[in-house]
């Protein structure tokens, strides 16, 4: 019997026929990378292949690497195995990776969401035989509101804080969530200030997506400038001395985890907005259905529960252990500290 087209080994998702890895977590010779979050694009591979728009992002994060960029739907062949990248809608530059060999098609999603967010190129379902999916929010408790409604709430919150004479501080990951927030904040309310980590990443993304004017917070930023305006900061800034400058402020977090009342209270954040760059429960089920896949492999998230439900629906579904972050919703990659010396110091990682 032939080995499976894609196998899970100790280094990552391996295509033996092409001797190539998808989003490997240990250093390899050739890696196809779905997107720029730290748990999917790691340091130390000899060759990186990824979408054009992800090239500047991973270069910014990983420094000088050998990387080649591909366009959407562009087929490239390695040892007779056909690969192509397709929009995943997760963050800017995020792709699904399609792998075809001798008529058999597999698709690996990396991370994805089915709702267009106005920044990333929207997700497209790809027909395949085997679908390797994340399921970070693979529980029926997760149900997103349309993003327009969420941003109406966020802008209302900002407006109210302004009227109360406070500064709004909203937390989101530097790559992805931050740009999505920036894109949809209502700048008629006030000015947008950014944490250095977010400003650096946004500068990388500016040529690729429409972004509003922002002001980087530096040592010279005056305390009284903030009042009534909004500050976009990475989650790690919460509770740090950096934030004291914004007093009096109100905090909010924008994340899928804000679905749980407990998550917000645990983090001692005043307001939680449910806004995720992953699919919700229905989003996952609909996306899987649209691929016509018979086999489904769940990589990270509530994998056991989700794959059991898929089996009840009639799919041949199983789970595989990977090192992608999923289950806990912790903000920061566990690997981050170890690789700190090679990563740009102020970069916030994580896939949420």
């Amino acid at each position: 019997m032939n080995p499976p087209l894609l196998a899970f080994n100790e280094k990552g998702i391996y295509c033996e026929a092409a001797d190539t890895y998808l989003d490997p977590w240990k250093p390899v010779n050739k890696a196809i990378i779905s997107h720029g979050h730290a748990d999917h694009s790691r340091w130390g591979h000899k060759k990186y292949i990824t979408h054009h728009s992800n090239v500047p992002i991973i270069k910014h994060r990983l420094g000088e690497i050998e990387v080649s960029g591909k366009a959407w739907n562009e087929t490239f062949t390695i040892n007779g195995v056909k690969f192509s990248l397709h929009p995943a809608g997760h963050i800017i530059g995020s792709s699904q990776i399609r792998v075809e060999y001798k008529g058999e098609v597999w698709v690996f999603t990396g991370d994805y969401k089915d709702e267009p967010d106005g920044v990333a190129v929207p997700y497209e379902p790809i027909k395949c035989h085997t679908f390797i999916t994340e399921c970070t929010f693979g529980l029926p408790a997760f149900k997103w509101q349309p993003q327009a409604e969420v941003f109406t709430e966020i802008n209302k919150w900002w407006q109210q804080n302004k009227e109360d004479g406070r500064t709004s501080v909203i937390f989101g990951y530097s790559l992805g969530k931050a740009q999505r927030l920036l894109r949809h904040l209502d700048t008629s309310i006030g000015k947008i200030y950014t944490h250095g980590a977010i400003e650096n990443m946004t500068d990388v993304v500016r040529p690729l997506a429409e972004m509003p004017k922002t002001t980087r917070i530096s040592r010279d930023t005056k305390k009284d400038e903030f009042k009534g305006n909004i500050v976009v900061a990475p989650p790690s800034a919460h509770g740090s001395p950096w934030i004291k400058k914004m007093v009096p402020y109100v905090t909010a977090s924008a994340s899928g985890w804000m679905t749980f009342r407990g998550a917000r209270r645990r983090r001692a954040i005043d307001r939680g907005f449910v806004l995720s760059d992953h699919c919700d429960w229905q989003g996952l089920l609909k996306s899987i259905e649209a691929t016509d896949a018979e086999k489904v492999i769940c990589t990270h998230g509530y994998t056991d529960i989700f794959s059991r439900y898929l089996r009840e629906l009639g799919y041949d579904a199983r789970t595989e252990d990977t090192q992608y972050e999923g289950e806990t919703g912790e903000e920061e990659s566990k690997k981050r500290k170890r690789n700190l010396n090679v990563l740009s110091l102020h970069l916030q990682s994580g896939c949420k």
């Binding site: 529980l139 029926p140 408790a141 149900k143 407990g262 998550a263 209270r265 645990r266 439900y309 806990t328």
Partner: protein
């Protein structure tokens, strides 16, 4: 309902006390009077009896959400709150009801005797007519109490701001056995109300734990000391030839302790005693475990009464000859109490006096504290001789000075997801000690407090990576981490696998310096059991 759900949402979305009080004050100024009474009732944990059991609610909710029951249960384990899970999994509302909080609660009360089909129909209809937050609140009203960081004290403060009535007076008005469906806001809060005076207890005065050196309390001659009893704090009221027993949770528990009925003939009307209900098997003070056999029971059998009788260890008197004497100095009140006690015979009624300790200096007090376990107490209570009886927890006049807890080093063996703000994190742990051959770890206690949030997060991440087996929400983990576990008391137990029950176990330190073979054995734990 909209107004109330909005209030709960606001309370739930801030961690700042001032904003909570502001939101509550606003509510009490603007809401409908009927709704206000219910709000007071709910926030002081007086909800109507549960009309539907939660097993049925889970089934009905998963049906409505069109998911299998097992998937609902898994979701519940992760969300960590039943009402929240139900509110999340059910599809969004199609219409929106304008029913008031009062109307909902009247319906919930009337629902209890109805048949199952009617109940199901009622829940399905209403779940689908409420938006997410209202649905959460509605389900909470049915399943349990709200834990949203609003203490009764905080609510009283807001109510006082809204009505301009003194906080202490409000606290007094809200005590006791009132029923929200039978009273009005005017009667309960605004009017001077004589008719339920008969059963009304006084708000308890609570002590803080001493935080510095005991000498810092100053001149020892200004202080009284007595043992701190480990039972149920209670007020026993004799008025108009009737007896009322109130526990500290403001629960009327008269029926659970029939032995106190004998007080009626011996103690004059217009007397309120403050003290501790203690188990008294075989003529001496038992352990808290003995008392637990009485607390949970609905039916107090003759057998139970003779096996585990209780006494009241009285330490204060709040009302005498029908007069509120809480303003009198502690030593004056004690004189009255002791005079009353000396006229009675403990042969006839189960009343004991919590004796004052005599001492000349702080060193002698400290020495008496060392004897606490011998006396079956938890330590000492220190009370200023000239102090009045205050309301609630106040610093200054009363202090508890507990004995240091017992501790052992134990190994983390199982972990379970927490609830509320700790949902989705593994924060509830089971600990094991070595059997005497040091071959096997035997479960001896569960604990879920004592670590910092950062430590919980660290341990949670470790647990997720070091899981051996999963049993629903519980995971067994590789024995690796050692924790110092403190507990207040220890007793033999047939119900525990280890043969030992500990009282209030909690983690005091993560012993990263110890490996699992340095943890204690069961034998060493048993050695701590007092004779």
């Amino acid at each position: 309902m909209k107004h109330f759900a909005e209030l709960i949402k606001t309370l739930d979305s801030t961690n700042k006390t001032t904003l909570k009080v502001e939101a509550l004050t606003h509510y009490f100024k603007n809401a409908d009077d009927r709704d206000k009474v219910w709000t007071i009732a709910i926030l002081s944990h007086r909800r109507p009896p549960r009309p539907v059991n939660t097993t049925l609610m889970r089934e009905w909710a998963s049906e409505l959400a069109n998911i299998p029951l097992w998937l609902f249960e898994e979701s519940y384990h992760i969300v960590g709150d039943l009402a929240e899970t139900i509110a999340l999994v059910i599809p969004p509302a199609k219409e929106n009801t304008e029913k008031s909080l009062n109307q909902f609660l009247q319906e919930i009360i009337e629902l209890k005797p109805k048949d199952e089909a009617t109940k199901k129909e009622y829940l399905h209809t209403n779940w689908l007519a409420l938006n997410y937050y209202e649905r959460f609140v509605f389900t909470k009203l049915i399943t349990g109490s709200f834990r949203i960081g609003v203490s009764q004290k905080l609510m009283t403060r807001a109510l006082s701001k809204a009505t301009n009535i003194d906080e202490d007076i409000l606290a007094y008005k809200m005590m006791g056995n009132w029923k929200p469906e039978k009273t009005t806001f005017k009667k309960l809060i605004l009017e001077e109300n004589e008719e339920d005076y008969l059963s009304k207890p006084y708000p308890f005065y609570l002590a803080y734990a001493i935080d510095g050196e005991v000498e810092e309390l100053g001149d020892v001659a200004q202080w009284s000391a007595e043992h701190k009893w480990d039972g149920i704090r209670a007020q026993v009221i004799v008025r108009n030839n009737e007896l009322f027993v109130w526990s500290r949770g403001e629960e009327l528990v008269t029926d659970k302790y029939p032995e106190f009925q004998s007080f009626i003939d011996k103690i004059p009307n217009g007397t309120v005693l403050d003290g501790e209900i203690l188990p008294f098997p075989k003529g001496s003070i038992g352990s808290f475990k003995d008392l637990q056999t009485r607390i949970g029971r609905k039916n107090i059998t003759k057998n139970l009464l003779s096996k585990t009788p209780v006494i009241l260890k009285a330490y204060d008197i709040l009302e005498w000859q029908g007069e509120d004497i809480r303003d009198k100095a502690f030593q004056e009140r004690r004189k009255i109490l002791e005079k009353l006690y000396n006229k009675l015979s403990t042969e006839e009624i189960p009343l004991h006096l919590s004796k004052r300790i005599s001492f000349k200096n702080w060193a002698e007090v400290a020495k008496e504290r060392e004897r606490a376990r011998e006396e079956k107490s938890e330590g000492l209570m220190l009370k200023r001789l000239d102090s009045p009886y205050l309301v609630g927890r106040k610093k200054g006049d009363w202090w508890k000075w507990k004995v240091d807890p017992l501790t052992v080093d134990a190994v983390l063996t199982y972990a379970m997801r927490g609830h509320g703000r700790r949902s989705n994190l593994f924060t509830d742990y089971t600990f094991g000690l070595w059997d005497d051959e040091k071959k096997e770890l035997v479960t001896f206690a569960k604990a879920y407090s004592g670590l910092t949030d950062a430590e919980f997060r660290k341990l949670d991440a470790w647990i997720k990576k070091n899981t051996l087996e999963r049993f629903g929400p519980v995971r067994s983990v590789t024995p690796h981490h050692v924790f110092e576990i403190a507990f207040e008391g220890i007793a033999e137990s047939k119900r525990h696998k280890s043969g030992v029950a500990t009282r209030f176990p909690r983690m005091v330190r993560w012993r990263t310096d110890k490996n699992i073979y340095e943890a204690n054995t069961l034998g060493e734990l048993r050695d701590l059991i007092p004779d």
